[in-house]
């Protein structure tokens, strides 16, 4: 019957609608390549301009100085121990929340995940306030004798402790997700075969959780080596330099003349991060066991006699690591000046009022961060929505590549990104002839690059959960791609877009790592001002600004969680 193919008039050929889709893809492609890929390539070409061997010897030169070596060793050391702490805390809590009958799980999870919302420099500041000589902790009768003279958190141990707690949520979330996906039947089958609960956990659950644990640990490690806020507040005064703080100090001290040198250090840092990311991807791909879940997750074992001891221990721990530091930080903001002890006579709101009404840099910082975070949130989501649509619904290979490319500025250490941004935007922009360096725009560009992935993840996962047929039905009604995007896809994506925008806002509002190298006078951000105030010795004002940030961040988190009930699975990184 194939001979009949030649007959029949061809009525095809008119396809102007395809062009709109291609044009959209081209615009998005330029955006992602220009913001996320080009600066990083620029960093590579700066070092390897003279060929591979010359580049390698240049990196080795930069690394051979004692300061750089010490920073590298310190970075690895502190990150290693911090990761161990994150794994212990994250895994223990994931198993407790996932497999036991402990009560008030949502609140427990919320407290554990607080570090996701609180920027590292504020966590560091809060811990300093809690352990430091001025802490309200020493007001508790009986603890007075423990009051330290010098803050014991300054230096390596403090960095390990705070970074370890800061990144525990990553391990927790990875293991928790794997536990959620574990069919209850597997545990029940082990029990039916004669295993006690602990036996089933050790023989069945733990081995199945290993890939998730390892992947979470790799992620925590990558975050630790890229962390700037904690080493900046604890390591610089504690004389424990790490790569991120060394790069910062060199560039802050010598200015753009040190660019080539710090670019080499940044590449070393990026290399370490890439090893961690590679390990994570490899582990998940190679070893993750796909268990297809039929029926529900396990309801949890009864703790029995251990119920109350466990409950008391866990809540005391959470009180100590999540609640107390924030109370201490607030207390530090309520004293009139540094060194004054908090009491009924000394308590005052003057600092909280002063930083928003009298302190110029803080006022500017709030305005700038508000502007930057809002713009970044809107622009990023505006790009993420059509990209996710092209990726999921139109199955565009190109969109898939762009999605992967957008990950690079997010997973690489922020300090690497900011060096790349300086290298790219210090020279005058071709057509305009002006340099973006020393303006607020370089901050905006860096935020757009940094946080695109943060918006893409929830939007892509929500997009994947939209039933294909809903768009196909619109197609059958005669609606072209852009019309469908506007009338069907975007309205259905709306909750995820809102969540994505809020996540970007939260990340950008108190951002420090990227801003630390890109800010300039008049263009301060909130994160930078907290760091500078602390650096100047005005930790009371730093605490006051932090309290404002905490207030805003927690309100927004509450808002997302309220909206979160209506969100599809996987949109929020935390889910209670």
């Amino acid at each position: 019957m194939r001979q009949a193919v030649a007959t029949g008039s061809i009525s095809l050929g008119r396809r102007p609608i395809m062009k709109a889709e291609t044009l959209l893809l081209a615009v998005l492609g330029l955006y992602v390549l220009g913001l996320c890929v080009w600066p990083l390539l620029r960093l590579l070409t700066t070092i390897f301009a003279g060929g591979l061997t010359e580049g390698v010897s240049f990196i080795l030169d930069a690394w051979s100085t004692p300061a750089a070596r010490r920073a590298t060793v310190n970075t690895l050391e502190a990150s290693f121990w911090a990761t161990i702490l994150s794994v212990v805390l994250g895994v223990a809590m994931a198993f407790l929340v996932g497999l036991s009958d402990i009560r008030l799980k949502p609140l427990l999870v919320f407290l554990l995940l607080l570090p996701l919302l609180i920027p590292p420099q504020i966590s560091a500041l809060a811990w300093l306030a809690m352990i430091g000589p001025q802490s309200p902790l020493w007001l508790i009768p009986g603890l007075e004798a423990l009051r330290p003279v010098r803050n014991p958190l300054l230096g390596r141990d403090g960095i390990i402790l705070v970074m370890g707690l800061e990144h525990a949520p990553m391990v927790f979330l990875a293991v928790r997700a794997a536990l959620r996906g574990l069919p209850a039947d597997l545990i029940d089958a082990a029990r039916a075969a004669g295993s006690r609960p602990m036996g089933a956990i050790a023989r069945i659950v733990a081995p199945l959780m290993l890939p998730a644990l390892a992947a979470g640990a790799a992620l925590a490690f990558v975050s630790a080596i890229g962390n700037f806020g904690v080493p900046a507040l604890l390591g610089i005064p504690g004389r424990y330099p790490m790569l991120s703080t060394l790069i910062y100090q060199r560039l802050a001290g010598f200015g753009p003349t040190a660019l080539a040198d710090v670019a080499a250090l940044a590449l070393i840092l990026a290399g370490m991060a890439l090893v961690g990311i590679g390990a994570q991807v490899l582990i998940l791909r190679r070893y993750a066991v796909a268990t297809d879940r039929v029926g529900g997750a396990h309801a949890g074992f009864a703790l029995g006699r251990l119920f109350w001891p466990t409950t008391i221990f866990v809540w005391l721990l959470m009180l100590l690591i999540a609640v107390m530091p924030l109370i201490a930080l607030t207390a530090a903001a309520l004293v009139p000046s540094v060194g004054v002890r908090l009491s009924a006579e000394t308590v005052t709101l003057s600092n909280l009022i002063y930083v928003v009404t009298g302190l110029g840099s803080a006022q500017r910082a709030f305005a700038n961060s508000l502007f930057l975070a809002t713009s970044a949130a809107f622009l990023t989501v505006a790009v993420a929505a059509p990209l996710a649509w092209l990726l999921v619904a139109r199955r565009s290979k190109m969109a898939q590549a762009l999605n992967a490319a957008a990950d690079a500025p997010y997973v690489l250490p922020g300090i690497v990104l900011s060096i790349a941004m300086i290298l790219t935007f210090l020279p005058p922009v071709p057509v305009l002839g002006i340099s973006l360096y020393n303006t607020i725009w370089i901050l905006l560009i860096a935020y757009l690059a940094r946080f695109l992935a943060l918006a893409l993840r929830p939007v892509v996962s929500a997009m994947a959960q939209i039933e294909r047929a809903t768009e196909e039905a619109a197609q059958m009604s005669g609606a072209g791609p852009l019309y469908r995007l506007r009338t069907v896809v975007l309205p259905m994506l709306a909750p995820a877009l809102g969540a994505g925008a809020l996540l970007v806002f939260l990340g950008a509002f108190s951002e420090l790592t990227v801003s630390a190298l890109l800010w300039s006078r008049g263009n301060e951000t909130v994160g930078v001002v907290i760091f500078s105030l602390y650096d100047e010795g005005n930790s009371t004002a730093a605490a006051a600004v932090s309290v404002w940030v905490l207030g805003i961040v927690l309100c927004l988190a509450l808002l997302i969680s309220l909206v979160g009930r209506r969100l599809p699975d996987g949109v929020l990184p935390w889910r209670m």
């Binding site: 193919v5 008039s9 050929g13 197609q475 005669g478 072209g480 309205p491």
Partner: protein, 357 residues
Amino acid sequence: MADVSLRGVRREAGGRAIVDDLSLEIAHGECLALLGPSGCGKTTLLRLLAGFETLHAGEIMFDGKIVAAPERQLAPEERRVGMVFQSYALWPHLDVAGNVGYALKVQKLPKPEREKRVAEALETVGLPGFDKRRVQSLSGGQRQRVALARCLAMRPRLVLLDEPLANLDAHLRETMIDEFRRFHAASGATLIYVTHDQAEAMALADRIAVMDNGRLRQVDTPDRLYQEPCDAMVAQFLGQGQLAPVTVHGPVENGWVDVELFGHRTRMRARPDCAPGPAQACLRPGDLVFAEEGGASMPVTIVSTRFEGGSTLVRVAPEAAPETTLNLRVGGRAPMIGERRSLAISDGWLLPVASPG
């Protein structure tokens, strides 16, 4: 209204042909059911017609104009084809009127005209006054009606239905089948209806196309398909046909021919070109009845019985061939297992194409 013609259509996936050299003509206003076991390629064929899948060989024509060929495909939105999805695919952010009137908005129809057609469509599917209701507040049957109204309002030339009743309970299915018939009459559109449920296909379709392994096995009216299946697959897939080896004696006269079944002489229907010699017969459970011993009946032993409510399905083994079994339905008292009875064969059909082996 449209006539649809498929010529040598082929689609591959993973190196395997999902739809293979398939040719089919569907007339103006016809209701054709695509019937087959799951994985036979019927949904892929439907999506090829809709334009969601691309074909690798052949062509699809609507009203004599090519809409799909390997090198060029008309986009789904340009085909003016309506589709009713198994999951209904209603848009949750729009109300009922918003869903039904969507296509009209795409066509930029003026608002009064749009509202009139939405109201008409809702009236036709028995949901008048539902226009401001939220989709989520509707029951499964109501949602499917809204999906139908959405299709009706756009006045498509061709409507594709993808297992539209699969998500509904048995009782509702009955009602919706009547609904689809009314829909077919009201719209006058050509209907292509994918299902794996033969009762649905029989009740609705003017013709049924039975698919298996990406190929068409037989396209016929429901009656002919049941009475005269072309091969073993169709015979077994529809109406619980059972196959039995027979020997044909003599020529076909008025559509009937003498055959020998397990040593027993009887008459069965056959095509005029049926040649004497070995052949394969399709026997329906209803073709077999218990009879008085002797005469024209065949001695059998009862192997098993299964009570089915109104009747009992009895499995018997002919004494001439104890290793084969035949099924029949009896009302009243079920026979005892091991009991010896006699079987009369009232009807049978000789398959034109014997299955290999």
